[in-house]
């Protein structure tokens, strides 16, 4: 009884449970993410937000419950297959490649789409050159899009200031041409002006037709960009709904007051 794919939400998480040894980090989490939405996921430190990301993106494989993309289960797929299916992510503790330059990060994200085989690569055939030139043009467009147009593409990524490193991670993720982009605290450590810039970028991503799942502690960002919000506490969803409803919810306020929120 497979449903009509258009009736399926883009992402459906049902009964997701992740345990580390005895610690249950995520317990029975279910939510739907329709295509085109920006869904926020918030909750105090240690609530299990990153763990949800890790399960969806295939970093953690041993979970219970189901993660479905357009109705197809992602269970048992590895990280790269999940990227191929159309889910990209960034990391809370920025994970850029220490030996790669800025532009190479975007080219790495384009990996699956660059059409060159081993022989092309070994001999630098005309096909290789053309593939690289096309890739570089696209990389340029992506870097422009995330606001890295003024950065030296040949600089080591780790030499960039922190805020720009976050943007580069987003560029790498976008380069995989995802349907769903998962951002893990993209505005962490940013000042007001920078977070406003980041909010704008997240909205622009959605304008490009990419659905967004956003984990963020900065409430200004969350409240200004999200269509809906899921609140996690101790691994469980305590509330989900539109920002106005979540903002007022007594359980949410209690969760944050009870555990010392970072904002």
């Amino acid at each position: 009884m497979s449903a009509n794919p258009t009736a399926e939400p883009l992402l459906r998480v049902s009964g997701l449970t992740v345990a580390f040894g005895g610690v249950v980090a995520v317990s029975d989490v279910s939510f739907d993410l329709p295509a085109g939405e920006i869904l926020g996921m918030i909750g105090p430190n240690g609530a299990g937000k990153t763990t949800v990301f890790n399960a969806i993106s295939g970093v953690i494989k041993g979970y219970r419950g189901e993660v479905r993309l357009l109705g197809r289960s992602l269970r048992g797929r590895n990280a790269q297959q999940i990227v191929a299916a159309g889910i990209a992510r960034t990391f809370q503790n920025i994970r850029l490649f220490r030996s790669l330059t800025v532009i190479e990060h975007v080219l790495a994200g384009q990996h699956r789409r660059i059409r060159e085989n081993m022989v092309d690569s070994a001999l630098h055939t005309p096909r290789f050159r053309q593939a690289e030139i096309d890739a570089v043009r696209q990389a340029r467009a992506i870097l422009d899009f995330v606001g890295l147009d003024q950065v030296d593409p040949g600089a080591r990524a780790l030499s960039l200031p922190y805020g720009l490193q976050r943007r580069l991670e987003i560029a790498r993720a976008l380069a995989t041409e995802p349907r769903l982009l998962m951002l893990d605290e993209p505005a962490a450590g940013m000042n007001t002006a920078e977070s406003i810039d980041m909010s704008r970028l997240v909205r622009n991503v959605r304008e490009r037709g990419v659905t967004v799942l956003l984990v963020e502690h900065d409430m200004r960002v969350v409240m200004s960009v999200c269509d809906r919000i899921v609140v996690l506490n101790f691994g469980k969803i305590i509330v989900q709904g539109p920002p106005e409803k979540v903002r007022e919810d007594p359980d949410v306020i209690a969760a944050y007051l009870g555990s010392e929120s970072s904002t």
Binding site: F97, S99, A108, H111, H124, Q150, D152
Partner: protein, 354 residues
Amino acid sequence: MDYLSAARERLIRAQARVTVPPRVQTAGRYGFYLGALVFASAPYWLGGIYYPDIWTDMALWGTIGLGLNVVIGFAGLLDLGYMAFYAIGGYVFANAALYHGFSLWEAMPIGAVLSVVASAIIGFPTLRVRGDYLAIMTLGFGGIVYYAAQNMTSLTGGYNGLFGWKTQSILGHPFASPIDFYPLALGLTVVAALVTRALRGSRVGRAWSCIKDDEVAAGAAGIPIIRYKLYAYMVGAVWAGLAGAIFAVKQNIVSPETFTFNQSFFAVAVVIMGGMGSITGVILGGVLYVVIAEWMVTYTGTLSGVIFSSLLLLVVLLRPQGLIPFRPRPPRWLLRHYLEDPARGTAGVSQPDG
């Protein structure tokens, strides 16, 4: 606070004006090429049989370094059994020449293919495990090949090895003296250098770098990790397989002592001392290895192991990037295309040199 960081950001943006870096140190570069040419041609003007022999060894160890560099330097996989592939190349040649009448030219590709097959067989179960376990497993694999070489007497001649094939030749010119092998070995080094360099600057090379730096992030970029590790293994094995055949011809014998754990350890030392990822670096590493092994050992006897391990330790501690570090830089022609995007023109972007 806000003003301050906004000002900082403006400063950073101003500093990071996008440019195609001009080709640097042209004089130094030509000096380097000239020096390399003089050095590589040394056997011809030094003459005799000793120098050509030594220089052939340098070329072979340069090739070994280049092949293992793909595995360690590009993909970040510590392989402690690399010389097993060198052994396979040598024994395949010996068998093909002795029992099937093949020439070196016919045997070399077979040896390379079998090395690649062997690398895939060993790589398939091993590349799933953590890096440190992989090191141990490759050590075990090298050990198995070594003991197989000793015990599978019908294929390998056991302790005595295989020898006695007829003299190989190229275009009717026989390989009789060391100076005849030298161009062959050197040619292999040059091809290995060009091919591995090309790979490094391509999609495969980027995938390897990503895997070396951070496997989780590489997976998130959509790179198939195990497949690319296997590629690194297989590409690396090709060069040892080819070099092993030339080595066999040069020595007139293949026997197990050349493929011990010690040899594999020295190969690792060549790559790490030379500079992981650096083409010039690992060739220099190979040259240094032969220099130390040949010349120092004649004076110090068994001290070579002590010298090598101390040197390796010193390099790892004091200069972990190796003697000639690899600095990743995207190629200039690509950067030029980056800047030539017609949609943007060149506004706001300076573009020196055409």
